[in-house]
Structures are given as C-alpha cells and as structure tokens.
Symmetry: C2
Subunit: 400 residues, 2 copies
C-alpha cells in the first residue's frame, strides 16, 4: 500500500510509451505507478516519480520493483519466464501470471495452445530442421517463418521461398515455427481486458493497417465489418483471455481472410491497436489495465464518437534539429529540414485543432515510433484525413 494514499501500488516492468501512458491513466486512479526502467531517459522514466533503474532480465531488480508493490505488471513481454515463476513462488502477485504470459512470449507455445483450444489459426508447424520447413512448404511457394521469441513490429518474421533461407535462420540459432501465408483481406484486432475476479470487457474490433510490418493506422470500429464477424472476434478474444488466465489487457491480432478470421499474435499488455481508446472510449486501455491488475471492476468501453482513427508517428526521412530555439521566431519561413519538433507541433496544432497528440519523449529519428495522434468524428474519410495530415506535419515538417 502506498504510505500516503492508502491505495495498492502497481509496479510496471519497462518504461516505454506503454508505461508512460499507463502512468497518465494511473494518476487519475490515485495511483503513482512504480516503474522499472533500463535508463532514466526512457519515456516513462522522464515523467514518473517512482522509478527504479534496472534490467528486466535481472531477478534482483524485479524483486526490488515488487518490494512495496501489490502487483507487478508489464510494459513488454521480455522478462524471462523463469524469473516470473520465481517471483510468483515468492508470493508476489504477477499479472498477467507467467503461465498466461508465456503465450505472448513464445509463438510456438501460443500456436500449440490455440490449436489445442480449437481457436482458428493459420496452418503452422514447429521447426526442428530444414527438412521440417521443406515438408511444411510442400508446393505452397512462399511460407512464413517466425522466430518463436522476441519479434515485434515486423522483426522476427521472414517470407521464405526456398530451403536455403530457412537454413540460414536455423544456422544462426533462431528457434522458428513456420506458417502458411494466408490470403489476407486485412488485419483486425480484438482487444479485451480481464480481471482476476473473471470480469471481462471488450472494445469494438478495429482494423489495423501495417506498412513494412509496422502498424501505421488503426480504425475503430473496423469499417464494414459484419456484426456477426465482430462478435465472433470479440467472443474469441474473451474466450482466450479466460482459457489462458490473462489478467490485464489482451490484444488478439487477427488476419481477416475470405474464409474467416485467424489469430496472428497475442499481446498481454496495453497494445498499439488500442491507443485510440484514450480519447475514443469511455475507458482507455491504460486505465482498464490498471483496474484489471488491481482487481477493480472494469470500466465502460463504449465509443465517444462514431469513428476514431489513430495514426502512429514514425520518424520520417528528415530528423528535426534539436534543441530548438524559444520563443519561436521565423518558424513559418523555414524549410522542413530546419524545423524543430516543437515548431512542427505548432504547425500541426494550427492545422488540426481537434486532433489529439501523444508524444513519447523520444527523439524523432527515421523509422522510430515516437508518438501517435488520434482523430474522432462522424465521417470516416474526414477523420482518416485529419489523422494523416497531423502525422504528416509532425513527420515531414510540411503539409501533406
């Protein structure tokens, strides 16, 4: 319990943007999130009071985080499972627990479990040798190889056309599974939260748009998705949350194919596909995650507007000079490559007064995910346009 507020304390492993936004939400609940950061410059460490510096692979650091916290939860999945089991064995409450989290840490364990549960997944196989890959591929042409651990944002996924590529990966010591390349209509995500009491709350199913394997846009609710398929996706996510014993937010990334939905990945923490909930839902995924891990009743998940679009801000080709000068002087006359992030923000706000911005405290380097924007409204085309325009200003320093 926090000595001052009398409220239970949440410890979060990791101090990236998810911890940063969870901290924002936690403040409203009277909380002061405890954060385990690798560096004092991490996004969440820049803005939170109770920050421990230490590595998530160091059991002693994890114990220190847990000391004085009622529950330990996560900004990422990279904590070694054996450490989580050690904490749990010491009586520390870890949510999601190690037996649930392993399904978000290890793709082979996840695929095996989902197959056993009869959940829809792409055709897949474990891989022990190049022969396994060749046998799986048959005459399928291109197949997909995935590292069982550690991949994200397109990393750890390879399109495989011949056995030689698979051999290179295996020789490099990468544990793999292989999957069919599904006839993709689009990608969806069904995000839910579950409390230890067993309450589950679902947000509307969203469409996620990727570029180079990285999510660039999320549309809520997924346009044109039939009620039947939306309910099917939500029920699947709810069933998985219960069957796997998830506590906290569970994001189920889905492939929509001509024949139905298939589970792509699982994440057991606040997830990029639900950032839109900050403004777009009565309860944000960050608040919901905190409520869930503290076993509070969950919040209402209704939308605040007919359409909500989130666009990720990835650093563009031009890195803004930093630091800027202040007060701004001749920002309006500068070429994009001379315009600081502060000046770009100024222009973006002028162009899009209704778009909300979330910056993660990172420098705007090419390709790096450094923030996101959210637009809301009645007209989907207009909402998407506004979100894209806002991101373009921030990324390129000029209008789209």
């Amino acid at each position: 319990m926090h000595p001052r507020t009398g409220l239970p304390v949440v410890g979060m492993v990791g101090a990236g943007q998810l911890a940063r936004m969870t901290h924002q939400a936690a403040i409203a609940l009277g909380q002061s999130l405890r954060i385990l950061a690798v560096s004092p410059d991490d996004g969440a460490a820049l803005v939170a009071a109770d920050v421990l510096i230490g590595d998530h692979t160091d059991l002693a650091a994890l114990r220190k985080l847990a000391d004085g916290a009622e529950v330990v939860t996560f900004d990422h999945e990279h904590v070694p499972p054996e450490h989580l089991r050690a904490l749990a064995a010491e009586g520390i409450t870890v949510y999601p627990g190690p037996d649930a989290l392993i399904h978000a840490q290890d793709k082979q364990v996840m695929r095996e479990k989902l197959t056993a549960l009869g959940a829809p997944v792409p055709r897949w196989a474990p891989v022990a040798s190049v022969e396994d890959v060749v046998r799986f591929a048959g005459d399928a042409g291109t197949i997909v190889a995935k590292a069982t651990r550690g991949g994200y944002d397109g990393r750890g996924v390879w399109m495989i056309d011949d056995a030689e590529q698979a051999r290179e990966l295996l020789d490099a010591g990468t544990p793999l599974i292989v999957e069919e390349r599904v006839p993709l209509v689009r990608e969806l995500a069904a995000v839910v939260a579950r409390s230890p009491f067993g309450q589950v709350a679902a947000w509307p199913v969203v469409e996620t748009v990727q570029r180079d394997g990285i999510n660039v846009e999320v549309i809520a609710p997924a346009p044109g998705l039939s009620e039947e398929r939306a309910v099917e996706a939500q029920e699947l996510a709810i069933r998985l949350a219960s069957e796997l014993g998830v506590v906290g937010v569970l994001a189920v990334e889905l492939f929509e194919t001509p024949d139905g939905i298939l589970v792509n990945e699982l994440a057991m923490r606040p997830h990029n596909s639900a950032h839109w909930t900050i403004e777009g839902s009565r309860t944000s995924q960050f608040e919901q995650h905190v409520r869930a891990v503290l076993d509070y009743p969950l919040g209402a998940t209704g939308l605040t507007a007919p359409y909500v679009v989130m666009a990720n801000l990835l650093g563009g080709d031009v890195t803004p000079p930093t630091p800027g000068t202040y007060p701004r002087s001749d920002a309006h006359h500068r070429p994009p490559h001379e315009m600081t992030l502060d000046e770009r923000l100024h222009h973006m706000f002028a162009a899009e007064p209704g778009v909300k911005v979330h910056l993660y405290g990172k420098e705007l380097r090419p390709g790096r995910k450094v923030g996101h924007v959210t637009a809301l409204g009645d007209d989907l085309d207009d909402v998407r346009r506004r979100a894209r325009r806002a991101v373009h200003w921030l990324r390129e320093g000029e209008p789209s």
Copy 2:
C-alpha cells in the same frame, strides 16, 4: 529546452491537484512538467519526475524552477507579485504575467479594473475604516465583506450584518472590500484560454453549485441558459482575458441575477469549474493551459457528450482506515467506517462503470477536497444522479 525531447519546458509553481492534472496532460504533449512543490508528498510531486522542493514565497526557489524552463506558470495564485516582477525583470517568461495575475491575487485591484473596463460587477467599495463599511451598507441590511487577498473555497468571505463584525475583521488586520449581496439565481462560470499570440478559445458556460462556499458540482453546459446570455458570458470572459493580458486559462466566476450576470471572481490557472473538460471536451483545460503558455495554437473546445457533470469529492464524516489490506477480502461485508478508500473505489466502479474518477493523492479527511468524478450522457438527470452516486460511495463508503 528539454535536453532529451528538444521541446520547451514548462515550470509550474505549486504541486496540488491542478499541477497533478496538468502533468497528466503535459505528458501527451511530449512534456515533462517541472514542478515546485512545498513537500514531496504534494499531489503532483507524488507523480512527476522533475520536482523541486521549495516555497513559492522564496525568490531563490522560483529562480531555480525557472532555470532551464522556457516558461513559468502556476497551480495557485499565492506567489508574491514582487517576486514575479523580479523574475520578469530578469527576462524569465512568466504566464500569466504579474500585471495580469494581480487581478486574480487582489480583489480590490480586480474590482477597480473591472469597474474601469465597464464590466458588470456587484456594487462594491474599498474599505479603509469601519465608517466606510457603515456608509456602504446604508440600509441594505446584510452586505458581503471580502479579504482582498488569499481567500478561496469560501474562506475570506463574510456576511456582515453590523459594523461590529467589520471592526473585528479590520482590527485583525484583514484588508477588505465590501460588496452588495446580490439576488442570486445561481452561479455560472465562463472559462477561456488565451495564448501570447492572442488566440482565445472558450468552453461552454457552466453552472457551478456550491455548498458552504465550496464548489460541489459543475454542470456543462449550464442547463436552461439562454444562448444570448451564454454568448454574453463568453464574450465577457474573452474580453477580460484580452484586456488583462491573461496567458493560460482564465476562469470567470459569475453570479446570475434576475437582471443579468455579474463577475464574482477571476482565476488565472486551471480551475475547478472546468475539471469536466478532461473527459467532456475535445481539449481539457489542462492541455489548453500548457498549449497556451507555450504559445501553441489552442485546441478544439467542443463537448464530447450533450451533458457533462463533475462532482467534487470532499472527505465525509467518516475517515477511511488506511492503509487497507490487499488483496481485498471481506470488503462486501464491512460497515462503512471500516472500509478503506481502495474498497470504496471498488464498490464505486462496480456501481458506476461509466463514471470517471480523479483522485489527487490525498488522504480522505472530513471536508477536504481530495478528488472529483465526471459523468457524461444524454439525460441530465441521469448524469447528475450517476455523478452523485459515485461521490457518495467514495465519501461515505455506502450507496446513496
């Protein structure tokens, strides 16, 4: 400029709930608010990374806050004007500046200025002696005496029926003004924000409900207010923001009388009468204040629901025991006086899943303002009921 983000840094004097909620909003803008706190236990100091401990009456502490910040702004009005003038003379950007802020610090200066501007105010007079009070009162019966400085939440305001009461106040050395007691229909507030560039943005005019001089409820928009009077109030607030040179949020507290509106008080910072904007407006007053003092273009101020009601959480007669036990065991069977804040929160969330809560990190002592809740919806009666029910759970540990 922040060395890591390349963004300008906002320093805020004071670390109460206004700084706490401003910090939440600032995080989204890529900011890391610098806060001058009296104690490390102050509400904002509990949740922010960059906290200096020092007193707002100590010029050296103020200089330290300003060092490395592009702008200094306020959680409260208690900084001595001469210190602010000293900072401004040293080239430090202070928003609102001392020449504006004085109108929120000194009621006599405010009344003189508003009278000179022709703004509608109650009949009033400065007081140098008991004779001034007697002359002003005439045969009016009860009049109102106000301390020119330092009053808030009903403190510093007295109903005066005879000269003896005024003599006691004057003998105690309290600088006073006197005002007529207006025939009050209700209280309203017009809240706006203004940037140094001169852009102004207004939220809808709200009704504020007081009990014992303390605001307990805010209804947005003010029910039944004519369009004409709403526009009059907004235009008045915009004019005052411009005429007084306010930068940041300006809250104009108004009396509605049968004959029209009169200005009661001014506040030049985020204000209790606009807490509802966190969920109820596209741009919260806290985000808007940060945007204004950084001279960013201001955000859209539209409502997110037809009605928004904020209810303040004041500690009730029963102080909850603290710290609680965790996990919660028999909370459902405990009498209210044994129920911790955490358990009350649990019950409140179960009863009102759509109500949003904001706790300020303070202990729940009788009469103390420790948080607020916000409800939104189409049906005003229902929205008010939900907000009241939520507050009742938290305050009393039982349903209303």
